[in-house]
Amino acid sequence: MLRRVVVTGMGLVTPLGSGTREKPWQQPWEALISGASGARRIDDKFDVSDLACQIGAPVPREGEGAFNPDDFVPPKEQRRVEDFIIYGMAAAEMALADSGLPLDTDEQQERTGVLVGSGIGGLEGIAETTQLLNEKGPRRVSPFFIPACLINLASGQISIKYGLKGPNHSVVTACATGVHAIGDAARLIALGDADAMVAGGAEAAICRIGYAGFLACKALTTSFNDNPTAASRPYDKDRDGFLMGEGAGVVILEEYEQAKARGAQIYGEVIGYGLSGDAYHITAPAEDGNGGYRAMEAAMKRAGVSPSEIGYVNAHGTSTPLGDEAELRAVERLFGDAAQGLVMSSTKSSVGHLLGAAGAIEAIYSLLAMKHGVAPATLNLDNPSVETPINLAPKTPVEKTIDCVLSNSFGFGGTNASIIMRKV
């Protein structure tokens, strides 16, 4: 007998701003719904003069929603972790505060686990330390280098900070990481391995080696260096690659009866989760969207819902030429008649692609869409590259009652994950 799993807390660190302990998602959500874009030139980050892509969506360090790492991780500790871990720790702290999850007793701590993943972890730290090794030799390599960069150290640091002694796990499935983390964590609770899980994804790959690498595989946008906010344009005929974002999304998953008994706020229930592999290509999606189709189909089967019950789809929609249409066609095939009027949007048009954090922040956006009865827009969708019966929410959010949401994330290597959540 599987136990029911609900979301009782959420925390966001995004290119449109960061939440706080008191208001863990409000400002980033309002910025998203207002139609803001997190895209800008990144000349201040590193030398971009010889890079074909000179724009990105970094987490703001000043202005509204500014992220201050000192609010979450003491300065001394910051030197010992890469930025993706700082983002993950911050989002976890917000989500825990939001949830009010009790962690006072040994048993509560032992029944609470962590599953926060990342797509590529401490990429910048690895690049910098390699340079140091080559220039100054092995004796200059910090003892904190490995634990600062390891992907599962986001989960490790969070568990150490809060004494969470349940399952300590991590996911690395490129851009599907966030959904896999939440889905797998929900299963740990459903199967009884834990009563609560801190789950999500964190990423900070806006660095020179990250750009050089993704540019080499022709994944990044290159035509909008002078007009950054127009660069991420899923489904539009002028799209030419993804805009890189960074940040973290973390949720608190909790066994339903426990959450209900303590009177916790419940954002939604995780009712379906599906996984699949393309078995096709290392970076390109199968053009017919077959892998995504099977992931969504498996999630629906698990959820026991029909397509017509799903009120909003948060698409993977990265703004790459091949991927967007493959996913769109897969949704059309799977939804059949229910595709007519279905609202599906890509919030990557606002915040870019957060890689391993994308699935987690998009699951949170999906829950907030359900809570507020509004589906975020797909910005920059001026001229759709193909016709579709689906409402892609071009440029303007769509207000509607949403009781059930589906969120997709697909990654390099042909890994696909879909998650379905419903109002309780």
């Binding site: 003491p74 300065p75 001394k76 004796r139 200059r140 910090s142 003892p143 904190f144 634990p147």
Partner: protein, 79 residues
């Protein structure tokens, strides 16, 4: 000269361990009094090597347990 070494050791220790300068006295143990762990010690030793342009072999590093140990070791190497 030795005062200078003491001041520099103190400064590096404060920076790396995020402790109050007043606690960084010669008899203070890095682990017991200043809250360092084994990785902190490795990092501290690296910082001393860089600051004073000396090499501290691993077996010698293991004997450095207090701030005074570090100051004395560096003094010997520099004299």
């Amino acid at each position: 000269m030795s005062d200078d070494i003491q001041a520099r050791v103190q400064k590096i220790t404060v920076e790396h361990l995020d402790v109050d300068a007043s606690k960084v006295e010669p008899k203070a143990s890095f682990i017991d009094d200043l809250g360092a762990d084994s990785l902190d010690i490795v990092e501290l030793v690296m910082a001393f090597e860089e600051e004073f342009d000396i090499e501290i072999p691993d077996d010698a590093a293991e004997t450095i347990q207090t701030v005074g140990d570090a100051i004395n070791f560096i003094k010997e190497r520099q004299s």
